[in-house]
Symmetry: C2
Subunit: 395 residues, 2 copies
């Protein structure tokens, strides 16, 4: 186990109706005028927008709005939000939505208290301050409600990049009412489940020895997702699987499972190119990339993949040929993704295998583009081979 | 799953040598003059006292000291500490030790900013403010370094009571260097392992339905303790099992495993009488009480005890007679406690079964003394029966 720091000072308020207290939470964390950031119609249809704005009005907290945030959120909305904060003299950012909305709110938060261009923080500058951000979560997926990270796509150059990670940008509070996720389409529910599963995998596959405790915690979360996601899709209005997914999604990415160990993140890096090229759902891209990455790197540590197969999927260990068990785990993962309606090949997300060289090239143009990953270092030829496996995946 | 709030705003700094930065952490959380609270010679022998005071001096942070804190910490030391804080104009309390030292520091912290007697907070008054508290942990056990609770024994009446739980008293930071625990005697290591295992059991045995995720997290921690404790005892200087125990001990009691579910705490209530009467190690008392409590309440939910047996101890499920599996899990737990050198009968902690009626009576005199517990409500006759099972335990 490596030395680590773990600091998750976000207040989580979880369950039915918790959004009714959002005004008190804003005030508790020093807010007196709010910028409410959200996407489109879904938060109006599911009642979240109404409940939140009612609470703000009841609490006498004035607010202005920035709406229209889309998946793979764009820099343009961040610039717009920063300007709005200054013009309206806002002192608190409230994100109402999923990862894209939260990441936009985070970027507005640290952009608004900075003299220069917020994009500087995505090209190497450390974030040292932010306007406080609160969250009302309506999609279980990205885990941004409890995380120290933020990913924005810059329109110039189609660059989907993450800022330097820092506890400074963790939200002050996050309200998690699973009922708001009951109206999500099955595809989006599944895509969220893949995203959170992948956040755990990126931490699980490590070269750090003696990480028994975080392994067990990661397995606990993965087993929960395997059980809850199909139930949420089969019975969309059922509260309990939605609640499991919502809390698992937060824990998958607040770094509880990543303490004291090297993390990988190669699958995420590759997926960022997929969604930059095809604007696919992040989870859908991960469903395609993650098993392909696993097949490509499995030989690096067969016993870790066997542990994954046995403990997460209940495979029987083949002690004579552990690689068969390891491979079985990857097959089961791909079958799970397939079973919840996710694509598992490049073609199924509308990607053209002929674009693979361009994606590799686009990645190479990013500062520090290659190699990436920690479990196995990924060079251009590795990325190409992984994407080719994803093109040819036997489902 | 029930609605819940989870707020753990403690910065954890984990690993070898992290105490060298204690001065920076004190300053980061607003401290300029420190009261250093500790027990006796062990923190001087293991180097922790030297490292911490060196860092404070290096950082130019003046400090005064309160030492001599003992197991089952007493009110007298809290009064002494509060007076010292006022006299020396201290603004930060630093606990160097285990649960007793941390709980004393917490009580000094909220006692020092209160006009009345700190004991009011143990008899029903809500804590609303505290002087900031930081921790350098040297014993893995109580989990007080990340918890919202504090237990003090009042000398008048020998009352071992807990304050009203509140996030207000969670430490600002906790430095967890597993090396400081390598010099602990085997008995104390084992006692700490029992304490943390019990903190999980108190949350695991619940009547709240649909708690799949927290069940899994709890099982992850319990399996880690089962594996790490014997290794730490067999090879005291080995870092890795010490590290597993230290992080598991924090997670066992910061309420991560207790979110969204009713908690029990009957075993702890009964044990408090044991340590009030015999001043036994808290963990040793719990090793005696917990399996006896389990045997007594098992019929209330056989399938939950079967789940415990199968998932935590790897017992094979007897589908025809689940109660045999359930009982096997309890036997394995008692055997585990025995294997790490813990007492499992009243006699083995020097308790006299003839005192059972007096312990029940002493409990009854506490405000709201009976019934207690949530999984099964414990009345005087139940407490008597549980202690009688502990007297007659077949080891």
């Amino acid at each position: 186990m490596e030395n680590f720091s773990f600091y998750s000072p976000t207040l989580f308020s979880f369950g039915r109706g918790e959004e009714a207290h959002v005004d008190q939470l804003v005030q508790r964390f020093g807010g007196s005028k709010v910028l409410l950031v959200y996407g489109g119609g879904s938060v109006k249809r599911n009642g979240a927008y109404q409940a939140v704005t009612d609470a703000l009005r009841r609490g006498g907290i004035p607010f202005c709005e920035l709406s229209g945030i889309q998946a793979n959120p764009r820099s343009g909305k961040v610039y717009e939000g920063v300007e709005l904060v200054h013009r309206e003299r806002v002192d608190f950012i409230l994100a109402l939505g999923g990862g894209s909305v939260i990441d936009t709110a985070k970027a507005i938060g640290f952009g608004a208290v900075y003299d220069g261009d917020f994009w500087d923080f995505f090209t190497g500058t450390d974030i040292t301050a932010t306007m406080p951000v609160g969250v009302i979560l309506t999609i279980s997926a990205a885990g941004s409600e409890g995380s120290d990270s933020c990913v924005i796509t810059h329109e110039q150059g189609n660059l989907k990049w993450g800022c330097r990670k820092t506890d400074v940008i963790r939200p002050k509070f996050a309200i998690l009412n699973p009922q708001f996720t009951c109206s999500l389409p099955a595809y989006q529910t599944a895509s969220g489940a893949v995203d959170m599963f992948s956040h755990i995998c990126e931490r699980y596959f490590t070269n750090t020895p003696a990480v028994a405790l975080t392994d067990r915690l990661a397995e606990a979360l993965m087993k929960t997702i395997l059980s809850a996601a199909p139930r949420a899709i089969a019975d969309p209005g059922s509260y309990e699987p939605r609640a499991d997914l919502m809390w698992a999604g937060m824990l998958a990415h607040n770094n509880l499972c990543g303490t004291g160990r090297a993390q990988d993140w190669a699958s995420h890096q590759i997926e960022h190119e997929l969604s930059a090229f095809y604007d696919c759902a992040h989870g859908a891209g991960l469903a395609v990339v993650t098993p392909a990455w696993m097949e490509y790197v499995m030989e690096h540590n067969v016993m870790r993949f066997a542990q994954f197969a046995v403990r997460v999927f209940g495979c029987e260990m083949d002690f004579a040929q552990p690689e068969l068990t390891a491979r079985e785990g990857i097959c089961r993962l791909r079958a799970f993704f397939r079973s919840i309606g996710m694509p598992v090949t490049l073609e199924e997300i509308g990607a053209d295998p002929a674009d693979i060289p361009d994606m590799v090239l686009h990645r190479a143009q990013k500062p520090g583009g290659f190699p990436f990953g920690s479990f196995v270092r990924i060079h251009p030829e590795d990325m190409r081979a992984i994407l080719e496996k994803a093109a040819a995946a036997n489902t």
